[in-house]
């Protein structure tokens, strides 16, 4: 049996939806699993059950064949014995210890020199050596996040659990630390479960992804698959973004990047530090459909294509267009009838360069 965590749990709440989830997390080779969902969906509770901080009412959690939790036989391995690195959303650094003290806190069974060596090792890995003697209250949000990560990995855990690791940060810091976190996870080669509600983080960090909503598991797959091919309207609503494609940055001029997606060049606003391999993400509601041959607009991208599929979503219609790649647009029902959209009809899709999100690929 391949090393993996299998989780099959049920937990009820008075004020929100019951959590009933079956999930398998492969541990070898080490990979990053994203638990994705809106706030209140139950993803944090699932992570806390994995950490042993909460107990489901029914079900089992197995890690590498070892029983972590079994409601039927009342087995509950406490968090202390699970060998985890857990990072809470607001980092939970100990205010009475220095950065060094926080990191050394969980290092038991090591000599004084051994502890010191390990602390210095993770301090330099996270590039926070200069903060060693500071108290958490003196640190910025980004620095606190690094210290919390350093503390979580110091004990060489067999599994990392990160609860919204970037959500407490401001946007520029988040982009930077998201890249750092991706490199760190790759370098550490520890399997990780990351809870997030941010699709850019999911794409940047995840090897596989599980979409959770109202306590149910809706879809699993690679992030790109889940985002670009949601299996139903519920998933589409939760993930919110429907066109995710591989692209190669061809040139950057005047802060606009030309990205080659299949045979088609797409113009996007270039973010600093852009790599050549990217995910190109376009939200369906940002795509406008027009009849071929109409006048110029401010949108930088105009792509001719044919309608491949039309799905009704109440007042809105989801239209999939083949314009060299598959692009999804969300238009109103009245727009559909005015444009006389039907499968096979020719149409032009337009979207602004600012609506194209480029995410560096792992």
């Amino acid at each position: 049996m391949a090393p993996e965590i299998t989780l099959n749990i049920r937990k009820t709440f008075v004020d929100r939806a019951t959590i009933a989830v079956q999930l398998r997390l492969p541990l070898d080779p080490p990979s990053v699993t994203i638990l994705f969902g809106p706030s209140g969906s139950g993803k944090t509770t699932i992570l806390r059950c994995l950490a042993g901080l909460e107990q489901p009412e029914a079900g089992t959690i197995l890690c590498n064949g070892q029983i972590w939790f079994d409601a039927a036989t009342h087995v509950h391995v406490p968090p202390q014995a699970r060998g985890l690195g857990y990072m809470a959303q607001d980092y939970a650094l100990f205010p009475n210890y220095t950065v060094e003290g926080n990191i050394a806190y969980g290092l038991s069974g090591l000599s004084v020199q051994g502890k010191k060596a390990r602390v210095n090792e993770v301090l330099s890995l996270l590039q926070i050596t200069q903060l060693a003697q500071q108290k958490p209250a003196q640190l910025s949000g980004g620095q606190q996040q690094r210290v919390a990560l350093a503390r979580a990995i110091a004990r060489r855990p067999q599994l990392l659990l990160l609860d919204e690791p970037l959500s407490a940060l401001d946007a520029p810091t988040r982009t930077k630390l998201c890249e750092d976190l991706r490199m760190l996870l790759t370098r550490l080669a520890i399997p990780a479960v990351v809870v997030t509600h941010d699709w850019t983080e999911a794409l940047a960090l995840g090897d596989q992804m599980a979409v959770i909503d109202e306590g149910r598991l809706l879809q699993t797959g690679t992030p790109q698959d889940v985002f670009s091919r949601p299996i139903n309207a519920d998933v589409a609503r939760v993930v919110g973004i429907e066109t995710v494609l591989h692209g190669r940055v061809r040139e950057i001029r005047d802060e606009l990047a030309t990205v080659q997606v299949g045979p088609v060049p797409v113009i996007a606003v270039a973010s600093p530090g852009l790599e050549s391999d990217v995910f190109v993400c376009i939200r369906a509601e940002d795509v406008t459909l027009e009849l071929a041959g109409s006048s110029e607009t401010s949108a930088r991208n105009h792509l001719r294509g044919t309608v491949q599929a039309i799905t009704s979503l109440g007042a809105l219609v989801r239209v999939t267009i083949d314009c060299g790649f598959l692009l999804t647009a969300l238009v109103t029902r009245s727009a559909q009838s005015e444009l006389r959209l039907a499968i096979g009809s020719d149409v032009r899709a337009a979207f602004k360069a600012g609506s194209v999100h480029l995410i560096p690929r792992r």
């Binding site: 950490a51 901080l53 406490p78 968090p79 202390q80 857990y86 939970a92 806190y105 969980g106 503390r151």
Partner: protein, 224 residues
């Protein structure tokens, strides 16, 4: 001024507050973290001395440690003299009487330690006991000092319980508050005034310390 009464009082108050520091911590820990549904029964018992007349408390303690009770007989067999009207009996009564003054500040301090910090400690592999003395206790210092100081000050001023359980034995159980009462009974107002002023001064100073510390008027230890 009766220095003997002051010595007895200080000895009693010190031993009481130190004992409460030892036995109050596990009680406060249990009261804070237990999920037992009937916990409020114990909470109410701990808080009883706050509202019960000291004479009532003293009466029950006297009965329960007296020569007719199993505890009283056991103690007499063990030590050779009965508990009531001894310093040890008085100490036991003081501990029970001041219990809420130690346990409640301890419990309040424990409650204020963020649950997330405790959970972080658990996931870092520290047992509940280690988490208690490496994380919860250091974060509760102000509450611990408050509890110790309040139970000390409260013992300084006790009267009813001392009279019921300790009696009025010079050098053994006669405390400052009893001394004042005796002086007034003997119409010796000058002596009563001196001793009262001393007690007032000590109590006020002690409370000043507690409140100033909780407001962090001066930084005795590094800011959080």
């Amino acid at each position: 001024m009766n220095w003997m009464a002051i010595w007895v009082t200080c000895k009693l108050a010190t031993l009481t507050s130190l004992t409460l520091l030892i036995i109050g911590l596990p009680i406060a820990y249990w009261l804070t973290y237990s999920k037992w549904r009937w916990k409020f029964l114990i909470e109410s018992i701990v808080a009883l001395p706050l509202v019960l007349p000291p004479t009532v408390l003293g009466f029950y303690i006297l009965i329960s440690i007296g020569p007719h009770s199993p505890i009283g007989r056991f103690y007499t067999d063990l030590v050779g003299h009965p508990l009531p009207f001894s310093f040890q009996g008085l100490l036991l009564a003081s501990i029970l009487y001041s219990l809420p003054f130690a346990v409640q500040p301890f419990a309040t301090a424990f409650e204020q330690v963020d649950r997330k910090l405790i959970e972080a400690s658990w996931t870092l592999g520290l047992s509940k006991l280690k988490t208690f003395y490496r994380l919860i206790l250091p974060l509760s210092t102000a509450g611990l000092i408050t509890g110790v100081v309040l139970s000390f000050a409260h013992t300084l001023g006790e009267f009813g319980v001392v009279l019921m359980v300790g009696g009025n034995i010079e050098g053994i159980t006669r405390t400052v508050s009893i001394e004042i009462y005796d002086e007034v009974q003997a119409l010796n107002y000058a002596a009563a005034a001196k001793t009262s002023a001393l007690l007032l001064l000590v109590s006020y100073t002690v409370l000043l310390l507690v409140y100033a510390m909780n407001r962090r008027v001066w930084s005795v230890w590094p800011q959080k």
